[in-house]
């Protein structure tokens, strides 16, 4: 009952808004998961920035990590008659019904950053990064950098069983295939956190002859790398020189480490998922051109040559 009244009032509100919102080209509803990580906060900031840049009227709903809130938000977007809906789905299942409602209302839905288990015709497209590819880019960088010299690699995995951990491992191993000079000698989970990254790296250093047998570290995210860098320093070695450090995500702090010469490379998981989504929507609205079902974001490699200080300044205001 409360839902009905809420919907009714939302419709009235939307009707009132429409007169004034005419100036904007498009009204887009965005159901964000919540703010569980710095990356997520940066994604929210960038989505708002991108919308503003394109003159899009963005309606933002924070689901606070609950699917029921996301479904409610999507329904209210439908009731408001928005032109398109962006969803960063918190879980993969249970979307069929609400997506069908959106389809019936002829509102295109774009999934951001994660996909769902629903028939593909229920959404316009999904904008995500390719986790396997990210691992691959990191691996390729390492292969090119060591250039045939023998190299023992230690790996800090993400949370055991999580899809980024599985896929980033897979991609890295694929890149190393056929290069027998590179060997992953130790691989443990650091739970994507700085503390665990540091603790696990300490044990790697002890187990591999005080770090003398380690030539490179591959961390599934930058936070673990930042923790590990401290462990390497405390063991009396030089991170970035004695032990090469490559990781994924490109959060601001790793650029500080790169500027100090303590990290070597990072692969960006771009928080700008909304830009490509808005572009696809604009093309679709203009001449009905359907984008491919999956838009892969760029996994850009940053090294010490890419002016890490400037990138840090650029990124630190995004809310990471």
């Amino acid at each position: 009952m409360t839902l009905k009244t809420a919907l009714a009032s939302a419709t009235v509100l939307a009707a009132c808004l429409f007169g004034s919102a005419h100036a904007a080209d498009m009204t887009v509803g965005f159901s964000q998961i919540g703010s569980e990580s710095g990356w997520r906060a940066a994604e929210t900031t960038l989505t708002k920035q991108q919308a503003e840049k394109r003159g899009i009227d963005l309606k933002f709903a924070d689901a606070q990590q609950k699917q029921e809130n996301q479904i409610k938000a999507v329904r209210s977007f439908i009731a408001q008659g928005v032109d398109a809906i962006l969803i960063a789905p918190v879980v993969a299942t249970g979307w069929d019904e609400v997506l069908t409602e959106a389809k019936d209302a002829k509102i295109p839905v774009v999934l951001l950053d994660r996909t769902v288990d629903a028939p593909k015709d229920l959404y316009l497209t999904a904008v995500t990064s390719d986790l396997v590819h990210e691992g691959n880019v990191a691996g390729k960088w390492l292969v090119d950098t060591v250039a045939g010299k023998p190299c023992n690699v230690v790996e800090l995995q993400g949370t055991t069983g999580s899809s980024p951990a599985i896929d980033r491992k897979k991609g890295f191993e694929q890149a190393l295939k056929g290069h027998d000079n590179l060997k992953i000698v130790r691989s443990q989970t650091g739970d994507f956190t700085r503390t665990k990254g540091k603790e696990v790296m300490e044990s790697f250093l002890k187990a591999e002859g005080g770090g003398k047998n380690i030539c490179a570290l591959y961390a599934h995210n930058d936070d673990m790398a930042v923790g590990a860098i401290q462990a390497i320093k405390e063991a009396g070695l030089k991170p970035g020189k004695d032990i090469l450090v490559v990781s994924i995500d490109a959060v601001p702090d790793i650029f500080q480490a790169m500027a100090a010469g303590e990290a070597n490379a990072t692969v960006e998981l771009t928080p700008n998922m909304a830009g490509p989504a808005f572009d696809a929507l604009a093309a679709y609205k203009k001449d009905g051109k359907e984008p491919p079902k999956w838009i892969q974001t760029e996994s850009k490699l940053y090294t010490q040559k890419d002016d890490p200080k400037a990138v840090y300044e650029q990124k630190k205001g995004l809310g990471y």
Binding site: S187, D191, K198, S203, A207, D253
Partner: protein, 348 residues
């Protein structure tokens, strides 16, 4: 003399378990006991165990007293996150170290005060009362750090996490000194006895003139203080306050340390030293798993199996069996204290 002997008997199962685990790790990783000086500080896996075990050891000190009053403090992990966030934000603002530390420890005490008021004066069950702060606390910490990892560069604050005193890492010094100090204070005075009395039977304790609410309050406040110290250690260690992950699930490890230390969750007799050994047992298992090179999928299974084994060995039924198996000589160590609830002064 008899005090030391009683303490020895009390701690025997924990010491045996710790030594057994250390030997087990040594078998799979021969360099385990190697400790050398590097850059003026001791360096080696054994030092790592003591260093990485510091947060849980600190938490276990406060948790032991709370559990001795027949309570439990689920909020310590969240309080760690709050105090770490407070310290980091204060340091980023440029406050002097003394102010930063005072604020962080003060907030810890305040969190303990909140729990204590709920338990001692409003008579809310401890598990529920502290659950409030456990859930809300991480949110408060995230508000302070604004959801990001707040990094700082104050060398004084960093010293708490990675500095060293007489070659020992600062966190190790902290938990050793703090743990032993608290153990001495409660055992060399009547405080420990009164806490035990409160835990065994609050009403009887009140009737015999013990200010039970005051003891409950101070136990929770001490737990808050311990959480603040632990929060400072983990924050200083990574030079940043990670509100999402600092102290996450550590309340469970702290409770486990107390239980592995042979203390009963039903309150009453307690030993802080045993809990500290319990914390070291847990950390040895963690470090051992990391050194062994098993795939990470096995981490939790191995940890669970070892802890079940330790608890089995400590169970009252096992000590009875041991007593039967050994016809003469002293009875097996009194770990089966759940059964006899008489208040008796034990060694620290």
């Amino acid at each position: 003399m008899s005090g030391a002997k009683a303490l020895g008997w009390r701690l025997l199962p924990q010491i045996v378990a710790l030594v057994a685990i250390l030997l087990l790790i040594w078998l799979s990783f021969p360099g385990f006991f190697t400790v050398e000086m590097q850059n003026g500080r001791l360096y080696g896996s054994l030092i790592d165990v003591m260093n990485r075990g510091a947060p849980v050891a600190l938490l276990a000190v406060g948790m032991t007293l709370v559990i001795a009053t027949r309570g439990i403090d689920l909020s310590v992990g969240a309080v760690m996150a709050i105090c770490g966030a407070v310290a980091a934000s204060s340091s980023v603002r440029g406050d002097p170290l003394v102010v930063t530390l005072a604020m962080s420890l003060g907030i810890g005490l305040l969190c303990g005060l909140w729990n204590g008021v709920l338990v001692a004066f409003l008579n809310i069950q401890p598990i529920v009362a502290t659950l409030v702060l456990m859930v809300a606390g991480r949110g408060i910490a995230q508000l302070i750090t604004e959801g990001a990892i707040l990094t700082f560069n104050d060398p004084g604050l960093i010293f708490i996490g990675s500095g060293s005193v007489f070659g020992l890492p600062m966190p190790v010094v902290l938990w050793l000194v703090f743990g032993i100090a608290v153990a001495l204070i409660v055992r060399r005075t009547a405080l420990g006895l009164m806490i035990e009395a409160t835990g065994v039977n609050r009403r009887a304790a009140m009737l015999s003139g013990i200010q039970a609410p005051a003891f409950l309050m101070s136990a929770y406040m001490l737990s808050g203080l311990c959480a603040a110290l632990a929060g400072l250690v983990v924050t200083a260690d990574i030079r940043g306050a990670d509100a999402n992950n600092a102290g996450l699930w550590l309340e469970l490890d702290a409770i486990l340390a107390v239980v592995v230390g042979g203390n009963s969750l039903l309150g009453g007799r307690f030993s802080i030293i045993a809990s500290l050994i319990g914390a070291m047992i847990i950390q040895s298992v963690n470090t051992g798993i990391l050194l062994s090179g098993f795939p990470p999928e096995f981490n939790l299974i191995i940890k669970a199996a070892i802890i079940v084994l330790i608890l089995l060995i400590q169970s009252p039924r096992m000590s009875h069996l041991a007593a039967f198996a050994k016809p003469a000589g002293p009875a097996a160590p009194a770990v089966g204290m759940q059964k006899d609830k008489t208040i008796e002064r034990t060694a620290p």
